[in-house]
Amino acid sequence: MKYQPVIGLEVHVQLLTDTKIFCGCPTKFGSEPNSQTCPVCLGLPGALPVLNKKVVEFAIKAGLSTNCSITPRSIFARKNYFYPDLPKGYQISQFEDPICQRGWLDIQLEGQAVKRIGITRIHMEEDAGKLVHGDLPGLHDGSGVDLNRACTPLLEVVSEPDLRSSDEAVSYLKQLHQIVTWLGICDGNMEEGSFRCDANVSVMPVGSDTLGTRAEVKNVNSFKFVKQAIEYEIQRQIDLIEDGGTVVQETRLFDPNLGKTRSMRSKEEAHDYRYFPDPDLVPLVIDDEWVERSRRELPELPEQRRQRFITELGLPEYDAEVLTANRALSEYFEAGVAAHGNAKAVANWVMGEITRSLNDSGTAIQDCPVTPLLLAELLKLIDGGTISGKIAKTVFDEMWKSGKAPHVIVEEQGLVQVSDSGAIEAIIDGIMAANAGQVEEYRGGKEKVFGFFVGQVMKASKGKANPAVVNQLLLDKLKG
């Protein structure tokens, strides 16, 4: 029998606010345990939550960027369960009436049609703290609770079960990742857990319209692991059914070392979270004006920008894709185009020299020592014939190292291109005289010797001779 996998993703997006969702404590990562806490995020008796407006703004941005409707009156709910890293004994989340509902993202796999993936909802919630085990200050071989992360703002983005393969899941996930980082609402760091994913996976016989029992695979913290975990889970379920077994509804944990999932808790052990509206928080009312203001403030999104690069700037699809991989890169490129004018020339340099140098040195585009304006100036020097494309690469390396403007480097190092035909003729004459044999060969019909002469002239001119002038003069002279 053939099986059809059905996958839905729940993605937790940690928001880049300066302070926590329900108190004023900082959200900075990696501080001394419990140093970023107050009565509210410690869950002390009598403490009350106050909603951080920035979190709402970020949630609206995320919703609008994923084609969701913004709920005019959304509600916070308590999700009740006991765990030492959950100080109040409940998590403040949203259950009925989340802030964003009914959105979608379009994905497209290589060689396939565009496919629309539904987004059921996006809701706001607080993160829990974390447990640390082992030798702790004042506690030998014990367990401690660090509540620095408690109350950190999260968005949970829940997809419809519209995904049919691990590749579709990864494609959807990458697009969502690109959007939240593009919006600047999440740093996207999957290793540190700023963007983490749970996958609901089931399989059903091809042609069936009854969904199979699903397993939820928890906390898969890289795109590679998502693919591995889903593929393992699909195969595990198929093997189980083929062997006459049945899939049970359960929560499973992915072990990246083994590349396998293992059972964490069964449906029977599942919590009854006893959700109910949090009486400490009033309903969140978002009027049309707020939504429209947010819509106006939205940046151009990656997909729109990619399309514009193709239609307005005439870039090939590949270039447009590469140059919208992240917002900073696309903005660098656009600044370069604005200063220079030739989009394709700027694209070639950004995708070539710039990207190579960034990668070699491990530098982020935001910290690129060659600014878009300096890059444009360099390209203008080529356009104006001041330097050749080849010399430009030398100048670029120097710009990267020293941060100097290209015209300064060209002047300091005497790299101005020689286009004066008299001077070039003199060089050519000298070279022809010294290589009479090759001249004969050329004239005898061996035209590929031409390249040898170009090389010699460029070498003699230290690369500064204008290649176009050299070509023309050489042709004239070699023909005799």
Partner: protein, 485 residues
């Protein structure tokens, strides 16, 4: 007049005219506490050092001419208010070692005006009770008859006024916990409108019903205290950003033409004869003062107690989840492993009534029962609110009994929770509706027990009930009576 008998405004005059210093007044109170505490049991913790330090600071302020009406006034707080550096138990064993690192907004407001803290008052555990008998810190007795309960849950707050151990006190009211003990102990007790006073730093029982309020010797003091407590607190999202009127200034405006509603559902068969008598007398007094009476109906009154015991317990089951021994409070010494530690800490730390309500609330919120209980209760709550909105279209305030009987005997209802719950039938609807109400001394039973009547106001209509209460007080002597202790 004896210092311990003074009202806030009376003491203020004495302090202002330098007849008395705050240190003297505070010492008199501390001496009184020491003298009668073995008979009453109003306090869980007395804080003489903080009290004297506060009184000295108040005297310096007074000498410097920086005096507020509350400067130098010795107060005590129900042990549900967090007080930085001072043990706060909420009447529970589970918090018997809890020293809070911060203070409740309401106490900060009083402290900043120069009020002096005498200590923390006895109460039902986590404010769950109507007799103060669920306290883990001993019996609190009614100063008018020490074989009887003072009421609850703010039993200590009312008993301390009646026993003249504090000039005024703070309580909290979730279903009647200020008004019922005030009625039983012969003092004035006000439950403000939900959102009028910050709940920040007040240990939560049922968050959508809890409200902070004062217990005082007279209505003027009540107006003074409310003026100091009321106002928006950015730390409490449910507090309301609404200007605070000068409650004292409008007190003398009288009740001529005031339309007072008498909800017929509150005059039930089986109402204690003495309570009925006090009600009749109060109606007569108001009629004489020029008020008009209107017969009104609050048709969903019968469902109020059941509704309350679903909503309050549901919220409590969640609010009390944080007491599990991980970060503060009681941790079981004989537990193995995490689940065992949490379970045993809670089993050992909570008393029977608290456990009963946690279980009721957990049940009401459980999957499969949520719609039938919690959701339905919320719908009925809306109907009850609408009853009040409709009735207030015709009247300015309502007049009702506070409790169906005067204070009952200690132990009398302790094994019959349902009977105990029914002692709040006249106060609970006000919390469900979210509006304000005040208990006012209005007579005595044939046994000499105080009886209060309740004035219910529109949401944020505290001015009207204070004004009506003041007019009643001017026309009667009930508030001047004092327990023979």
């Amino acid at each position: 007049m004896d210092t311990i008998d003074m009202t806030i405004h009376g003491l203020h005059q004495a302090l202002e005219s330098k007849q008395l210093s705050s240190v003297e007044a505070t010492k008199a109170m501390l001496a009184r506490i020491e003298a009668v505490e073995p008979q009453v049991g109003s306090f869980i913790t007395v804080t003489p050092e903080q009290a004297l330090a506060g009184a000295e600071a108040a005297d310096r302020r007074i000498a410097a001419g920086d005096m507020d009406i509350l400067t130098g006034v010795p107060l005590a707080l129900k042990d549900i208010f967090l007080t930085e550096g001072i043990r706060t138990t909420c009447g529970s064993r589970i918090l018997d070692n809890f020293i809070p690192p911060y203070s409740a907004t309401s106490w900060e407001k009083l402290r900043d005006r120069g009020a002096v803290l005498l200590g923390k008052l006895n109460q039902d555990e986590f404010a769950m009770g109507s007799s103060n008998e669920s306290s883990a810190f001993g019996v609190c007795r009614n100063p008018w008859d020490t074989t009887r309960i003072p009421g609850g849950s703010s039993g200590g707050s009312a008993a301390a006024i009646a026993a003249r151990q504090a000039t005024a006190t703070l309580g909290t009211d979730t279903g009647g916990s200020i008004r019922q003990p005030a009625s039983h102990c012969g003092c004035v007790g006000l439950k403000p409108t939900y959102g009028r006073v910050s709940r920040y730093g007040v240990i939560a029982y049922a968050s959508s019903l809890d409200q902070v309020g004062p217990l005082t010797r007279d209505v003027t003091d009540c107006a003074i205290m409310l003026g100091a407590l009321a106002g928006y607190d950015p730390k409490d999202s449910t507090s309301v950003d609404l200007a605070v009127p000068d409650y004292v200034a409008t007190l003398p405006n009288g009740v001529k033409g005031l339309r007072i509603g008498l909800p017929r559902e509150y005059f039930i068969a089986g109402l204690d004869a003495d309570v009925q008598k006090a009600m009749d007398a109060a109606i007569e007094t108001y009629r004489r003062l020029g008020a008009e009476f209107v017969d009104i109906s609050l048709p969903h009154t019968d469902y109020a107690v059941a509704t309350y015991y679903l909503i309050a317990t549901a919220e409590a089951s969640s609010n009390l989840a944080r007491y599990e021994g991980v970060r503060f409070g009681h941790r079981s010494a004989n537990a193995e492993g995490l689940i065992d530690m949490m379970t045993k800490s809670r089993s050992e730390g909570f008393g029977a009534e608290v456990k009963r309500r946690i279980m009721l609330g957990t049940y009401a919120l459980s999957s499969g029962y949520y719609d039938a209980y919690y959701v339905k209760a919320q719908k009925v709550r809306t109907l009850i609110m609408n009853d009040f909105i409709k009735a207030f279209a015709d009247v300015d305030v309502m007049l009702t009994p506070v409790a169906p009987t005067p204070a009952f005997k200690i132990g009398e209802k302790v094994n019959d929770p349902l009977q105990m719950y029914l002692s709040d039938i006249f106060t609970i609807p006000v919390n469900l509706a979210g509006t304000c109400a005040m208990s006012l001394p209005a007579g005595f039973s044939t046994d000499g027990l105080p009886i209060g009547v309740q004035l219910i106001g529109r949401p944020f209509g505290e001015e009207a009930i204070l004004r009506a209460g003041y007019a009643f007080e001017q026309a009667t002597e009930w508030h001047r009576a004092s327990a023979n202790l």
